[in-house]
Symmetry: C2
Subunit: 458 residues, 2 copies
Amino acid sequence: MAQKPAIPKGTRDFDPDVMARRDYIFSTIKEVFKLYGFEPIETPAMENLSTLTGKYGDEGDKLLFRILNSGDFLSDVKEPDKQSFETLGQKISEKGLRYDLTVPFARFVVQYRNEINFPFKRYQIQPVWRADRPQKGRYREFYQCDVDVVGSDALINEAELVQLVDDVFKRLNINVVTKINNRKVLAGLAEYIGKPEALIDITVAIDKLDKIGIDQVNAELSEKGLSDKAVELLQPVLFMEGSTTEKLDMLEKLIGHIAIGSKGITELRQLFTYLYNMKIAMPVELDLTLARGLNYYTGAIFEVKATDVPMGSICGGGRYDNLTGVFGMPDVSGVGISFGADRIYDVMQNLELFPDKAIQSTQIIFLNFGEKEMTYCLPFLKELRAKGFRVEIFPDAAKIKKQLRYTDQKRIPIAVMAGESEMAANQFTVKQMQSGEQITVDAETLVEKLGESLKDRL
Amino acid sequence: MAQKPAIPKGTRDFDPDVMARRDYIFSTIKEVFKLYGFEPIETPAMENLSTLTGKYGDEGDKLLFRILNSGDFLSDVKEPDKQSFETLGQKISEKGLRYDLTVPFARFVVQYRNEINFPFKRYQIQPVWRADRPQKGRYREFYQCDVDVVGSDALINEAELVQLVDDVFKRLNINVVTKINNRKVLAGLAEYIGKPEALIDITVAIDKLDKIGIDQVNAELSEKGLSDKAVELLQPVLFMEGSTTEKLDMLEKLIGHIAIGSKGITELRQLFTYLYNMKIAMPVELDLTLARGLNYYTGAIFEVKATDVPMGSICGGGRYDNLTGVFGMPDVSGVGISFGADRIYDVMQNLELFPDKAIQSTQIIFLNFGEKEMTYCLPFLKELRAKGFRVEIFPDAAKIKKQLRYTDQKRIPIAVMAGESEMAANQFTVKQMQSGEQITVDAETLVEKLGESLKDRL
């Protein structure tokens, strides 16, 4: 029986229009990655469950997509009683789909530690899968786009990543601001207010400042057990203003005497000095309220936002010191950032930033007036393609109206026609689809004329 | 506890060296696809099981990777008795991983039939998953690379696909031969020997001619119930020699009076006429023993083999008339081919066809002699990247020996050095890694000199 076709909730098909735009984003990003010496890797969609579980917290474990053992997957399972039933899930599934690119990358680094050329500058652009409840802007399959340097703790790596971000968004023509913080400074502040053990609670609360406002943040801090005194000590930090240097000087006074805080301030000063010397084009701000959810970062923390459209972070990352510890390889420091392709797409759609050239497929179509006429056209298709033009011929001698509708819908800018009279005169009629303008061109100058015509419009 | 990291059987990690080669293959193929007016689509890794099952035969159904329903996947299942236990598989899994690109494409065409601009020229390059027993050269995750035109039965589509194949392998520098057959001719032959119902058995047996030889093929045909007479009638076909025109003339005499056979011969004549006019560079042969396993094709059948290395088919396809029927949309004719990326990779490795340029990542590295020296170098990195050169700086002031080993392993052709003396003289030392040659260059001419140097070697 015929089925009404559909795809699973939370997944997407990408049609040619969307693909062209996505390709434009990914190839721009990849090109910049390569300019900075980053190299691609890919890992399998499936990982052993032992690789994945326990890495994303209990909540994350529930969101893993598990794959049934192939073949007779129930053969191991005997007449189940209630108890064996509960462990059925483990017995019938040993593999899961990649949940992010970080854990597979950590697994990769440890597995090939003896072959990898450190510092390892890798990028990875692949889909990941999460059994999240589907909702607007949240998908069960989406691409992540990660770039990392592991095996070096030099701060120039942070600086180069910020410069790379600057290059990517300049090329994509998106105005952005990059915010920078340092986890060590946050740790210093937690110590300063006498609650070093509350670092996570504090950063989680501070992270919400933009969303819920200062009163709610303070209330949450009190709830988490901070004394009124501690909350009060935090206020100047939350409201800190001025230039980056002024902020760092103020911090120095507050927490310069605390070892970890002082280390964080030194790192920030060094990073901002690099960025100043690099003449980064986008604004780069020190933002002490930037904490990000992850408890994963140990040094620099980055977040990039588009300035011309309200949208969450479109790119972010930071320095981590224990990526690979869980796989038995401690003390590997790395720094990385991740580009949010879907959000970047939305920003670019919203601001109409996709250049025509990027989303155009075929540039020239030869309309089909019949067998003889097609034979007359074919050598020119070959010649144009050899010169790098994207060319097609309508395969059927359908009504011209239909062929022109096809041409319009595919947004092909130029249609070339040759009927009986053109063939007799060794000519072609060239139609500019947008203006409707038609000119007659001698066959021997066709390729040259089309080349000029396309150069003008792109 | 630390785990020994590994990946599931039959899956692969791709390191930067392999990725660069794979990227070279895929981007070459994509570039040619675009020159012919093909556009990309992507479909989700997961499809509903109802989309997948029953499309690949019983054997195929067993090879589907099924995904456990997320969340409490056993909640629907009551205290199982033996019977409900057997249907457990269906209850706990409703999604499966893509097994090929054909069925998802058919689903796509039907689902978006009202939005698609027919004839629809699409390509799709994505991984597929099969729970096959892993063995050399057979993986549980591998990329397929398909290109199809659907919604047109004109033979120019077949011709253009062959021309596209020619272009792809010319660019990849692989010598190939393309073999062409037509399923209608095979049907005509089956009718000719009085066994129209045995078409499938005959084609399956014929398909093995290369592998098992004529005696075994004949034995198999007899086993399948062909009379000695019928087997005898087939012999001239199996041993047909001569030019394509001669072969077609012979066929005309044998089966020209059989409607479907005659139709097949006409199609072949028309296709070869197109190919002749298109001046295809590779050899293209009519091969009546080419049947391919699939019972799916209805017209032209293609197979492409590399001529300089023994390897199975590296590309193949054909015309089909009922891609979308199973999803309730009958009579959609299409023609497509599929490139076997893994085999193409093996051919190119084997014949050492990957150009250095394609597999090179970073072109220039600045060695790191310390903080001051690095600051001296940074503006030049920026300038070189702006000119499109792939440049990096070693992030740590490690021992130069270590930095040069990194440079060597990453096969970076040029190392640039600036220590105290170079800085004092406003110069750089440029080292060609392969020859070991070192020259001193003034800072203001560095970018220009490096540009020339790279132009020479690429």
